[in-house]
Symmetry: C2
Subunit: 723 residues, 2 copies
């Protein structure tokens, strides 16, 4: 017997061979899906052209055509059913007759410099129409004029520094910030809170330029004329801004635009660094703080308001972007479970792209497509998984995770009772270094076990497992000797499933070396330069990295759907809870006097974690002696495992964020991309030293500790024997 | 074979005999529980004295002693486990050193008449201590003085009539209203909204006096010195006012009293009609409208503010009631299910009483106790139900359903995943006429089937079933020929289970003839005259009515816990939804012009009801062909049946009422006792003709229709085949 098999906990021996078979299928097809016409017999030129050669922005004709094609192929692959599921949601497009741009204006208001209206189109795509120029989706319309103020990354701490240390007020001014570090929507929110009347975001080479790498097409750096598209919403999980909490169907009530969720009230626009230099170089004032210096900082000084030798740089934003209720289409395919059709394992990723989507999302959509193809092959050989598998090609992810959230809202009752797990399939690659996994703690063990069965895709690592390769490159730094797995944040389609509904979730992709590579995401992110060729030439010429990611995502789905006992490790959740509790306690202990004065204690939380730990251990002991021949006993145990994640959901939601309901995890209030543990407590503690009413602020800390302690206690109760 | 057996749908033939056995046990024991020392060999004098002879208000030593005794006996009866579950919740008691009363004051402020400080104690109870005098629990403290204004029942429509038709402003005045028609907390809320600085409630003989019946002890009417205790909260399902949403444990964060949920901000006090006559007889002004005249109206005229010959009646309220965080105790007993221990069927009723609790709640607590005893006997003979049965003796129901709500909060994760049904066991009798059942639509069929198996308790109806007897006395008036079953409102412990958590729920009791008996509840309700003797002498001398109620409640629990397939009828839910949709549409159609102007349509709701109807019918067809030998298939079907009620829960709650989450049913916003269907739409339509912003108001109607339509659609989806 293969010794690796023994390491795979909680799964049926019978399944292993099928797993291997399944994973091998993924390998075979992943490559021919994404490369263009290399293997015309298997994957037609036509097929590949359709998915990577034309822009397919959400809400466009082209993206509908892709949806129809995917539906058709999934049916051909042999799924039991495939349906198109439309919603009518608020999207946002530039006005074709009035382009968006930023001007430097002189004292008479004349536009003496205008930013570019489009990115230079890469070779081979010159004749493509419908390339949307760089814009900030959902920007307010308007033509505000004002002095420009540079606020670094536009983070909360950057605005604090500006306001508190430099004593600069941006009210009525236009701010310019560099991209990176945090989600752009948070930058916009911060600018609005600070009173700015517009915000410009640029890609600074300090953040989007790798050393010794050429700009595209000679390398994978962002050209100076490139810029990052993206939505600038603050939805906090609401999905379609006009139908928060409910699916955007024909009969659904829609809020007016004024009442829509998360829409910015000021104009927003993104530019590349060639344009940014022109805006920044003439700014007067003091040199910015050392920690604010990007690569552009050599050529300009920053202001205004720093010193008396302040020289104003006055700009005008010209933004005409329109919000429009637009039809979008998810494609939903199913394989009915043989024994438990009412248990759902979901693999979902988006299809809509800002332009070609060479990396985002088609490198991930390929994984979904090939997993469907592989599953279809298995079905044709008589296989059928124990549980139902649902495959989703989401629309309008780029406009606020809208397609996936609307479907979650539409199916909320079913998902709450029946969903086992959600695996996300956005971009499969954002770097060339190693695996990156973010997932719920109960999936850690499965991810480790699975990656030990998968080969490393790196050259020179023949015979080395993906686990070993990953472990070597990104070891957990502190308390254990294992590859790092991070908390889920947000920024992709798992959000509604994990944070709102409490469904165990995970994501996996290939990533950069975060110790040496400073840029956020990857340099050409959301630019026109995200082509098929950038993957083929630079990111993954052998397509082995994509194959490895496909094996991880597909393997997770397969094992979750077909193992008799769910491969979820609740002991791991206990460990994580303890770590998070220690971490939040340390944060509070930065205020020892207040902790004493207001009688703030974390004892109840640690007591709850202890309860949880004992209950988790006991449950895993019960699993050892479970009578697996008794279908009801197996089902009852699986229900306990499945519903654990649900137990962390508080229907009341987090303060001010009603759709973020997971008490243990939420996207950071200061950066949607990052996951925060015990977010209620964290937010209550945030900047508490500057609270206007410290007593009230500490009362809120105590209330949040109480909610966290209760939730962990209650989750522990779900792990104890059910009667 | 007994032909009645055939009529019991969805249940196992095997169970029937046990059912009968079980129900017979209930009969045998129900009597000896509640009567005093008639059968000393079976039920000791000691036992009965403990439960009916001493006041056992929530939070008192005596009520703890009863809890301990119940725990002890439930263990002796043979339950698998019994535990005391304490919470520390906000209760409210009169100040022992400063009694509450109302004074008539003269122009110098002298108190020229004071209301009585206590009710005359009934014969046989003269030496009992700790009888709490009539008071309004959670009243604000204070000694407001002001002119008295009579506002009939204090309903919303009464205040509207006063303000709009009579043009009387009660701001800064003290209002006096009669008890009845609506929950007293709603009267207090209305008085606060109208600006009153205090409110007095009295029991008018028009509402609490049956013709040709003597006052207690010679009959069951309320003596003139009797008064109705009761809480005056507006909790809207929050449970303990200081810990809304979370169980009131030692570590739980507590709001300050100022931030507590639903606490009245003005003094409130109840009086009997002997005292009321003195307050009312000297009031000047006009004769009140005809529809406001109670029995007291012959002797007084009403004012002030009606005409010029207004004569002021000035009163002072002296209220010193204290709010106190106090420990309460639920008793929770369990029988572990043999096959599905993780499916819970709950029988719960409260134990705490305002004084002796002869009717409320001990006539119901007796049913629970005897059901436990019967179940214990069955267990000792080797029986064990398929599912887990939970028995609950709730504390502090009288203080806002607090014990049951805290336990629901404590166990919310378990209940959400596992609870099949909740049957309530408050007072088993409130009249001598016939059965009264309020339950969720999916239980209608089970109630009908069950009552056909139970004998009528009425003299002269030997051989007649409870169903026939009930049918004859209270036939459904409109669309079908069956005994009336009503919607669940609130006012007892099922609230959190049904309205917040979406657990199928029902209640049954013996009631009055509502066509001929005008009084709300029963005349001595919440007075010191609710003794054991009033039941024994007047309400149920043979104890057959209580037996019948025990058979209904116990029978429901038994059948829900032991039937292989859950005896829930989702077709009946479809019928009810259609009826409710028609009813709410009719209400809206009173405004045909606005419906047209604002494009209000109920089409989406009817379309959803149609979907639901088809899905329900198909599901019941699937049930016919289900392979009952396949445990997983049975479980999957039962899960669909069980989770249907859950599908009506919207985590966002109703507007302004976050703990009322059931989209189909909620307690009326104007009377907590009454159930409202499609409450979101109903409340949006309420008094809409007087809306300050009609467009906004009709937009809200449309939004609520959309939510209702979505919820019914989504519930229908849960009934379709799961993959």
């Amino acid at each position: 017997q293969d010794p690796g098999v023994v390491q795979l906990r909680h799964q049926e021996l019978l399944c292993i061979n099928i797993t291997y078979f399944f994973l091998n299928f993924s390998f075979f097809f992943i490559k021919c899906f994404i490369i263009k016409s290399k293997k015309p017999k298997t994957c037609s030129i036509l097929f590949n052209r359709k998915f990577t050669q034309l822009p397919h922005l959400a809400g466009t004709e082209q993206n509908l055509r892709y949806a129809e094609q995917i539906k058709k192929e999934w049916m051909e692959f042999g799924l039991d059913s495939v349906e198109m599921v439309p919603y009518d949601v608020l999207l946002s497009y530039p006005n074709k007759s009035e382009p968006n741009y930023i001007s430097i204006i002189d004292q008479l208001g004349n536009e003496v410099f205008n930013t570019s209206l489009a990115e230079p189109v890469p070779e081979g795509y010159e004749n493509v129409s419908n390339i949307v120029p760089p814009y900030s989706a959902f920007s307010a319309k308007g033509q505000p004029e004002g002095d420009l103020v540079y606020v670094n990354y536009g983070r909360t701490e950057d605005f604090f520094q500006l306001q508190r240390e430099m004593n600069i007020n941006v009210t009525g001014k236009i701010v310019i910030v560099r991209y990176g570090k945090i989600f752009r929507g948070n930058k916009v929110k911060n600018a609005m809170l600070a009173g700015a009347k517009g915000i410009i975001m640029f890609s600074d080479p300090a953040d989007y330029w790798a050393a010794d790498v050429q700009p595209y097409p000679d390398g994978w750096n962002l050209p100076g004329g490139g810029a990052q598209r993206g939505n600038v919403l603050n939805l906090n999980g609401a999905g379609d801004p006009l139908t928060p909490g409910y699916p955007a169907k024909d009969y659904t009530y829609r809020f007016s635009l004024e009442d829509g969720v998360g829409l910015p009230k000021i104009p927003v626009h993104p530019i590349g660094f060639h344009d940014a230099v022109n805006l920044l170089k003439n700014m007067g004032g003091q040199i910015p703080p050392n920690n604010w210096k990007g690569a552009l900082n050599v050529s300009y000084r920053i202001g205004p308001g720093f010193t008396d030798d302040f020289k104003s740089q006055k700009v005008r934003m010209n933004i005409h972007t329109d919000n429009q209720v637009t039809r979008i289409y998810n494609v939903i395919g199913r394989i009915r479970g043989a024994l438990e059709p009412d248990r759902y394992v979901i693999l979902g990723g988006h299809r809509d792209a800002w332009v070609f989507g060479g990396i985002d999302p088609m490198s991930g959509a390929a994984v979904v497509h090939e997993t469907v193809r592989s599953a279809g092959k298995l079905l044709s050989k008589g296989w059928r998984p124990r549980r139902t598998i649902i495959f989703a090609s989401w629309d309008a992810e780029e406009f606020g995770l809208v397609g996936s959230t609307e479907w979650a809202e539409d199916n909320t009752k079913l998902l709450q009772e029946r969903a086992v797990a959600y695996i996300n399939a956005d971009s499969a690659i954002e770097g060339m270094y190693t695996l990156r996994v973010d997932c719920t703690p109960s999936l850690h063990t499965l991810v480790y076990d699975l990656t030990k069965q998968i080969a490393s895709p790196e050259d020179g690592e023949e015979g080395v497992s993906l686990y070993e390769s990953w472990h070597k490159r990104d070891n957990w730094t502190n308390d254990r000797d294992a590859p790092r797995i991070s908390k889920l944040g947000s920024g992709s389609d798992f959000e509604a499933y994990f944070i709102r509904l409490g469904i165990a979730a995970g994501r996996a992709r290939y990533t950069k070396n975060k110790k040496t590579e400073r840029y956020s995401s990857y340099p050409v992110y959301h630019s026109v330069y995200e082509t098929f060729e950038i993957v083929e030439k630079f990111y993954d010429p052998s397509f082995k990295r994509l194959q490895a990611v496909a094996q991880v995502r597909g393997g997770l789905i397969f094992l979750l759907a077909d193992s008799q006992l769910l491969p979820l490790d609740v002991n791991q959740y206990a460990d994580s809870l303890r770590k998070y509790a220690q971490s939040i306690t340390q944060l509070a202990q930065k205020h020892p006097e207040e902790m004493k004065m207001y009688e703030v204690s974390f004892d109840s939380l640690f007591s709850a974690v202890e309860n949880f730990t004992v209950a988790a251990r006991d449950l895993h002991e019960c699993l050892q002696t479970l009578d697996r021949a008794d279908p009801l006993q197996v089902r009852i145990m699986n229900d306990q495992l499945m519903y654990l994640e649900r137990a962390f959901i508080d229907p009341l939601g987090l303060p001010g964020r009603p759709f973020y309901r997971h008490v243990i995890f939420a996207p950071s209030s200061h950066n949607k991309y990052a996951g925060e543990s015990f977010p209620g407590i964290y937010d209550a503690l945030f900047d508490i030293q500057n609270s206007a009413d410290p007593e009230k602020a500490w009362e809120e800390v105590k209330r949040q500790i109480s909610i966290a302690a209760f939730t962990v206690h209650a989750a522990a109760m779900t792990l104890t024997p059910p009667a």
